[in-house]
């Protein structure tokens, strides 16, 4: 794992190129604390910050091919590098390291830009071909590793994080109204949009090339694909399918255990992480190291299930107990790493968790992320299934009552009252074939935060209707796949890539130099899941049916049959103590600061703050508005205004997490 940065300019030599590379890569030291590497010539600069995981002794980057005309810097892992290397050696390629990185340059020699199709892994790659004088940037299929870029005239800069691009050009430190508004609806900006005006994110599954002529071209090499309705192959028996899936998951985990350092695992208490951890136990291997977050508030806490799984698997388990005050204290540091507005605080406990992982000497953890997207685990899929069923008989009283079976885990459930449930979920019912049908209730709730935008922000957005806008971004092919596949497609391209894998994934792990690995997001597993009929995934209202079937007999029954509980954390209450906002919150949310920054309406924010202070905020809409506004103000403070006090969390990762006392770190 690592950080990369660099630039290319085919026309003009970059003045003080080496200095610029150093400024950029030093901002990414948290991603790669084990050393830096550089390459600089007339038109290109490459920099690398290294976190040593494979080939600790000779894996320094940039890595080159036999005659040195092809160079690569790379963040991530190529899990099938052993198999790739064997076949490349047969084809005559010679290797000088044992690293996974080296297969990239040789694959490029063999296959050109299509080298990415051979990789099984999670990666952001910058490859320089000095013979043809061209730069190739590539990002993994689902967006596990980030890659940003910035263009000015003939020059293009790229980096693993926005902060490295801002180090190259401070003028880019301006927030984008579109990026903020998209985040307030969809929980993240939609690639290539970011929260910053001049900075783009290379979308997952894409390759960007810069040719010697200066021409730039972006190409998609992979996407989530689902069979067209009616084209499913004759389904195998469910038992055969389940056994194939078990074998595939075993193989995905086997590949992802490859490392020259110990690999740990997260246990959330749910099914998915339990599956991955159980498959991660190697016969005759060392005791598996596992980690969990627990909460003082019972609504969020899953520690009994976590402990049960740790006992069942016999792992060496540690738990970080997270209090609301811990979240409030580390939130500025979280925003510094996420580089985006956030609508929820749930990423904060995971940043505290990765810190504990690192303190225990572990650099790599397996997680269960991805199973809900691939195998249909989320309530949003069930909710859409019921709403579509209801839409066929809109007058039915019984059909909407099925919604009452969802959301049992919420204290203030949206389905507590049948009449209200009906009124709330009735909106959009007439559009049951629309591409965004499943997501409309969620996005409408989130988008209510847009009413806090200032008149200036509204003016710069113009007449923008978020849901219709997003529907327009989708490829036309989604109209031909099943409704559930469509819901999965949208989920994978919004919440998964934009938020779960970034703000709540890569960024919070790399904040503490920890690499997350995601066996459910091995592209073979995704392609296997996508080819299955919907009923193998959501059987009636039983989610992830095939996955449970695949793991039958390998996990305790109550874990195997457990209903999905989404991972959440306390929101607005994390920022108040005895009715008073934390000091930085009071400052950033004050009328003067809100007016000076210009993003929000100071009167509306003041009323929301009063409502939070009085302890009267419940439900998602107000909580998301509060967290969204606060995180946007922090983004402005940290990156636009360059507040060095709050940023010091970067130099000293402990500075803002002091309230996570050592006694709250319980090991057994």
């Amino acid at each position: 794992m690592c950080g990369i940065a660099g630039f290319v300019d085919m026309e003009r030599r970059v003045a003080e190129g080496r200095r610029q590379l150093e400024l950029m890569i030093h901002t990414l030291s948290h991603r790669g604390p084990d050393g830096y590497g550089f390459h600089l010539d007339d038109c290109v600069g490459l920099a690398h910050a290294r976190l040593s995981i494979i080939d600790l002794s000779t894996g320094d980057q940039p890595i080159r091919n036999e005659n040195g005309d092809c160079l690569v810097v790379f963040n991530g892992e190529i899990f099938n590098y052993i198999e790739l290397r064997a076949s490349l050696e047969v084809a005559g390629h010679r290797f000088y390291t044992r690293s996974d990185t080296e297969v990239i340059v040789h694959l490029y020699e063999e296959y050109g830009d299509n080298f990415v199709a051979h990789l099984n892994g999670q990666f952001a790659i910058a490859l320089w071909d000095s013979t043809r004088r061209r730069l190739v940037l590539a990002r993994d299929r689902v967006g596990i590793r980030p890659l940003f870029y910035m263009e000015r005239g003939t020059r293009l800069w790229f980096a693993s994080e926005v902060k490295a691009l801002l180090a190259a050009d401070r003028r880019a430190a301006r927030l984008a109204p579109e990026g903020i508004a998209q985040t307030f609806c969809f929980w993240s900006a939609i690639d290539p949009q970011t929260a910053f005006q001049d900075i783009k994110s290379l979308p997952p599954g894409h390759v960007l090339t810069v040719e010697a002529s200066g021409t730039r071209h972006t190409r998609q090499y992979w996407d989530w694909q689902f069979p067209e309705v009616g084209s499913f192959p004759a389904a195998q028996s469910i038992d055969e399918t389940a056994m194939q899936l078990r074998g595939l998951l075993r193989d995905a985990v086997r590949l992802q255990l490859r490392a020259d350092v110990p690999v740990g695992a997260y246990l959330s208490g749910g099914l998915d992480s339990a599956i991955i951890a159980s498959l991660g136990i190697q016969p005759n291997g060392p005791r598996l190291r596992t980690f969990s977050v627990s909460f003082s508030d019972a609504e969020f806490d899953e520690s009994p299930y976590q402990q049960q799984m740790a006992d069942f698997l016999g792992t060496d388990h540690s738990t970080v107990r997270c209090r609301p005050s811990d979240i409030g204290a580390c939130f500025p540091q979280l925003v510094y790493h996420a580089e985006a507005p956030l609508l929820r605080t749930a990423a904060a406990p995971l940043m505290l968790l990765s810190r504990a992982v690192r303190e225990h000497g572990i650099k790599v953890v397996l997680t269960g992320e991805g199973a809900d997207e691939v195998f249909g685990g989320y309530d949003i899929f069930k909710e859409a299934k019921i709403r579509r069923f209801w839409a066929r008989q809109p007058a039915s009283r019984w059909r909407p009552s099925l919604l009452g079976r969802l959301y049992g885990y919420l204290d203030n459930s949206p389905v507590d009252n049948a009449g209200m449930t009906r009124a709330f979920f009735e909106r959009g019912l007439s559009n049951a074939n629309g591409a965004t049908f499943a997501h409309e209730p969620r996005w409408t709730t989130s988008a209510s935060s847009l009413r806090f935008l200032s008149t200036g922000m509204r003016a710069s957005l113009g007449p923008w209707t978020p849901i219709a806008w997003y529907a327009h971004q989708l490829p036309v092919t989604v109209a031909h796949i099943s409704p559930m596949a469509r819901d999965q497609y949208v989920e994978a391209h919004t919440l998964l890539a934009g938020y779960l894998l970034s703000s709540q994934g890569d960024r919070v792990a790399m904040a503490n130099s920890v690499e997350g690995r995601y066996p459910f997001l091995d592209h073979r597993v995704i392609e296997f899941g996508n080819a299955l009929p919907d009923r193998y995934k959501l059987r009636g209202l039983k989610e992830k049916y095939i996955l449970r079937r695949a793991m039958a007999g390998m996990l305790p029954d109550n874990i195997l049959n457990r209903i999905k509980q989404p991972y959440r954390a306390p929101d607005n209450e994390s920022f108040f103590q005895a009715g008073q906002p934390l000091e930085y919150v009071a400052d950033l949310m004050s009328g003067d600061r809100i007016r000076a920054a210009g993003y929000f309406d100071a009167g509306a924010v003041g009323r929301l703050l009063d409502k939070c202070r009085a302890g009267r905020v419940r439900g998602f809409a107000n909580n998301q508005a509060f967290v969204g506004i606060l995180s946007t103000m922090l983004l402005d403070e940290l990156f636009v205004r360059g507040n060095t006090v709050l940023r010091s969390g970067h130099e000293r990762p402990d500075a803002l997490t002091h309230s996570l006392s050592t006694d709250s770190l319980v090991s057994d």
Partner: protein, 82 residues
């Protein structure tokens, strides 16, 4: 302050975070316009019980009683008269 004024002012401040009377009209559907969501209903009922002094019964928790300022006002009036 009459009850209509009190109710409207609560809706404006608590759900729309504004003092601008034009932000919602008395006949607007609060649910369809997204002013009140499922948890918003709980906040509204709490307000009616605490500030207007009526108790909302389980069988009265139906959208038709709460879907607009007009319908809330007439619900409150019916309860006061009964």
């Amino acid at each position: 302050m009459d009850e209509r004024r009190k109710i409207k002012s609560f809706i404006l401040q608590n759900f729309l975070f504004t003092d601008d009377d034009a932000a919602v009209s008395d006949s607007d559907s609060l649910i369809a316009r997204g002013v009140i969501d499922s948890t918003g209903i709980l906040e509204l009922i709490l307000f009616l019980e605490e500030s207007i002094g009526i108790k909302v019964q389980e069988d009265e928790m139906v959208p038709s009683n709460f879907d607009s300022i007009d319908s809330i006002v007439s619900f409150v009036a019916r309860r006061a008269g009964s």
